[in-house]
Structure formats: structure tokens, C-alpha cells
């Protein structure tokens, strides 16, 4: 195995509280209560440890990170530690004064999520009336302040027909980048998969639309596109490999190799309140469990892509097969792949559009 490299970025999930209720939210089904959130001092220490460990960036996320009153303090701490700071927000709870305070603390970039290009579908997906206008107002504030802006769109069967409108809207609000991400199916999204899964034909159309938009908007808008891997031939390199590039800290201080890792039943994650970040990164059981290639089963073990995609996503392997140590079923070489494709096609066709909204206690 090659020498262990330091992590590049910290994803700080400050809270699970959020005014929205997106049915594909990447938070775990068991949402952390406000009372269990780490206090400011612990976050500041964790942020400093991340910088010492070699991280260059910190992404403040949630839930909705702006519900934390101490966000400006955390941004200031990260900036003082030399980290490049990014706020990932739904933009419904940010006014001019708060944004100015965050920028004064050192904030460098905002990633603003939209549930659709328009209010009608977007607000049904987010479960929050009036969200769209607030988001547009937030976009304006961010751009007026001279900060770079990324517009994030999670796409699925119920909004993918607006893909072109989403891209045009990103340009209109002055975004530099649009992130168009197909839903990843674990946690809440797995619960709502039947209401979200696109068909293969829809997917192909999306890919064509993205390619055309990229050509049309070269030098105007960077478009990052995350393909849905149920229909892929080979899986994505999830997080750039388990425990290779990223650290995620949950609201209560659990240190995870990926924001979805809490969906892996039976795995225990260390808490940064009990153990230093460096120690967890280097020596914890969870980080070493799927690191590198030694843990791999066939067909990964003898595959020439094993250091390209690192066997794909552990959370997806677990969600589909019940075993996190199997090859990602999104891979065409996996024994489970045919079942996955069949499942996706069946759900896309059945077109059941009702949601289980992301709420405290709703997962049942």
C-alpha cells in the first residue's frame, strides 16, 4: 500500500436542523438533535486539527449551517488556521447583515442549493413555501458582495425536465459554476427512491443536454455533472477512495470517511471529542476498514481499475446487498448489478411520485 496521504478537505456538518425537508437529503435517517450538537470550542479545536493534519479547505454544511449562531466564529477560526472556507446552504435563512458578518469572518464561497428552476416543483420538493424567492434573494446578496457562487441542483425524475432552465437560471443569477447532481441513493433518498429514480432514456437525454449546455456556455459557466450510477457501467470513485481525501464530522462530533457512512449498520465511528483528528485519520478502525485495496473482494481484487474507483461506494454496496464489503453494485462486473438495473427500471416505470419528507421522526 502507498504511504498514507493527509486529507485535503473537511466537511463540517454543523447541524441536522434545516427548515427544508428534501426527500433525498444526505443526512442520516436518525437526525441528530440540537442538544447533541458539538459546542463552539470543540468545533474550533477540530477545525484547527484538520488544518494541522493537512486539510486546505473546510466546507460548512448541515442540515442548514446558518442556523448555528456561531457560524461566523467557526469561519473566523478556519480562516485564521489558513483554511479556504465554503458555505453550503439552502439560502432561506440568510439576510444581508448575516452574510456580511460571514464574509467579514473570511467566507470565500457560497454553494446555494435549488430544488428546481422554479417555485412550484422546487417548493414541493423542499417542503417549504416561499423558499424559491428567498434563494434568489440570497443569490443576489452573494453576487453583490462579490463572492463566487455555485448553484447546486439535485436532479431526479420529478425535475429533470427542467435541466436547461436550471442551467440558464444559474447563468442569470451570476453563478460561476453549476453543480448538477443526480440523487445518490442511501438514507432518505433510498426511502424515496421509487419517487425519484429516472429511466434510462431520461438519463441519456440528461447527458445530452449537459453536453450541449457545456459547449454553449464554455467560459461562462462551469458545469459539474454527477451521473446517477445505477445505470453506469463502472462506479464512481466515491469520495476519491475511503479515507484518502476527505474527513466528515457529524453534528455530534463523529468522524466519518463520507457523509453517508452512518448508514453502514454495525460500524462504529470515533468522536473528535474523545480522540484527536490525526489519531482517527491514521489509526481508527473505521478509516482503515476500507482504505486502499487490501480489503477488496473479487472482482475488484484483480481489476485494473481498483486504484481508479477504489471499488465504488461502500454505502451503496450496503444499501443494495446488506454487505458494505462487496463490490459496488453500480459496477457492471458486480454480481449484483443486474438486480440493481432491474430495480431502477421497475421503479422508474411505476412512477409513484409521493415522498417521505425528511423530518425529525419521519423515518419511522
Amino acid at each position: 500500500m502507498t504511504a498514507l496521504e493527509p486529507p485535503l478537505a473537511l466537511l463540517a456538518e454543523l447541524t441536522h436542523r434545516c427548515p427544508l425537508q428534501c426527500p433525498y437529503c444526505s443526512n442520516p435517517l436518525a437526525l441528530e438533535k440540537a442538544a447533541n450538537e458539538m459546542p463552539t470550542a470543540d468545533w474550533l479545536r477540530a477545525i484547527n486539527e484538520a488544518a494541522e493534519l493537512g486539510c486546505l479547505q473546510v466546507h460548512f454544511s448541515g442540515g442548514e449551517p446558518t442556523v448555528r449562531r456561531d457560524l461566523e466564529q467557526l469561519i473566523a477560526g478556519a480562516t485564521a488556521a489558513g483554511l479556504y472556507t465554503n458555505l453550503i446552504t439552502s439560502g432561506v435563512a440568510l439576510d444581508a447583515g448575516r452574510l456580511a458578518a460571514l464574509i467579514a469572518a473570511g467566507l470565500e464561497h457560497v454553494q446555494l442549493s435549488f430544488q428546481d428552476s422554479g417555485a412550484e416543483i422546487g417548493e414541493r420538493i423542499g417542503g417549504y413555501q416561499g423558499a424559491h424567492a428567498k434563494k434568489l434573494a440570497t443569490a443576489r446578496l452573494v453576487r453583490d458582495a462579490g463572492l463566487p457562487l455555485t448553484a447546486n441542483f439535485v436532479v431526479h425524475r420529478q425535475n429533470l425536465h427542467h435541466l436547461t432552465e436550471m442551467v440558464d437560471m444559474a447563468v442569470a443569477i451570476g453563478a460561476h459554476r453549476a453543480e448538477i447532481a443526480n440523487v445518490q441513493y442511501y438514507g432518505w433518498a433510498l426511502k424515496n427512491r421509487a419517487a425519484l429514480m429516472p429511466s434510462r432514456a431520461q438519463l441519456e437525454e440528461m447527458t445530452t443536454t449537459v453536453a450541449a449546455a457545456r459547449a454553449r456556455l464554455e467560459g461562462v459557466l462551469v458545469i459539474d455533472y454527477v451521473v446517477p450510477d445505477y445505470y453506469a457501467r463502472r462506479p464512481k470513485s466515491c469520495m476519491g477512495g475511503w479515507g484518502r481525501r476527505f474527513l466528515n464530522i457529524s453534528p455530534s462530533g463523529k468522524v466519518l470517511p463520507c457523509h453517508a457512512a452512518e448508514s453502514l449498520e454495525g460500524m462504529a465511528f470515533d468522536n473528535v471529542r474523545q480522540r484527536s483528528l490525526a489519531d482517527i485519520w491514521l489509526r481508527s478502525e473505521a478509516f482503515n476498514r476500507f482504505r486502499g485495496t487490501d480489503w477488496m473482494p473479487e472482482p475488484c481484487k484483480s481489476c485494473d481499475r481498483k486504484e481508479i474507483d477504489w471499488g465504488g461506494c461502500r454505502c451503496q454496496a450496503f444499501a443494495i446487498t446488506g454487505d458494505a464489503a462487496r463490490t459496488d453494485p453500480a459496477c457492471g462486473l458486480s454480481e449484483d448489478h443486474a438486480r440493481l438495473v432491474e430495480l431502477a427500471a421497475g421503479e422508474a416505470e411505476a412512477a409513484a411520485d409521493g415522498f417521505v419528507y425528511r423530518r425529525y421522526g419521519a423515518a419511522g
Binding site: 478537505a9 466546507h59 479556504y84 464561497h109 462579490g146 463572492l147 464554455e218
Partner: protein, 96 residues
């Protein structure tokens, strides 16, 4: 911005606001920290980017690089500089 900026020798490029040229101690290399991106700069790229200060025209940057790298032909340097700056401008990492 709704139109692509085309880079030539008369352009006066610099890093866009909130893009940070930063030395990465842990990995001993220069980088640009950008939104959700980290661009690694090899020594040549660093030499180019660090000279793009928003005051120098690109032909002056090229002339300066010719002095710093006397073994490299001017037309090669010019081509590399334009390609690199155009790429960063297209990604909103630099502006001109």
C-alpha cells in the same frame, strides 16, 4: 458575465476575487484554492500565475518568463501562457 473572455498578449489577467494562491506545506507544492477545488501548480504554472498581478500585460509576463527560463523558446512560452490563463479564465479562477 455572459460572454467568454478570450486571452491574448494584450490581456491583463489576475486571480479572480476569492481565489487564493497558497503554498501547501503538507504536500510541498503551490496551489490555487478555489471554490470546492484545489489546483496544483507545477513550478512553471506557479511562475506564470504569480506574475499575473492585474497590472502586467501578458506580453510583459511572457518577456519576464523568457528571462527567467532562458532555455525555453519564446513561442513555446507564449503558447503555454495563453493556454494556462485561458483555461483559468474559463473556470472563473482568473479574470482579465
Amino acid at each position: 458575465m455572459t460572454e467568454r473572455t478570450i486571452i491574448d498578449m494584450a490581456s491583463i489577467p489576475r486571480l479572480a476575487p476569492h481565489m487564493r494562491l497558497r503554498h501547501d506545506k503538507a504536500r510541498a507544492q503551490w496551489t490555487i484554492q478555489a471554490p470546492e477545488r484545489s489546483f496544483v501548480l507545477d513550478p512553471v504554472a506557479h511562475a506564470i500565475v504569480s506574475r499575473c498581478d492585474g497590472a502586467a500585460r501578458l506580453d510583459a509576463v511572457v518577456a519576464d518568463l523568457c528571462t527567467a527560463f532562458p532555455d525555453a523558446p519564446r513561442d513555446v512560452i507564449e503558447k503555454d501562457v495563453v493556454a494556462l490563463v485561458q483555461n483559468f479564465v474559463d473556470k472563473s479562477v482568473m479574470q482579465a
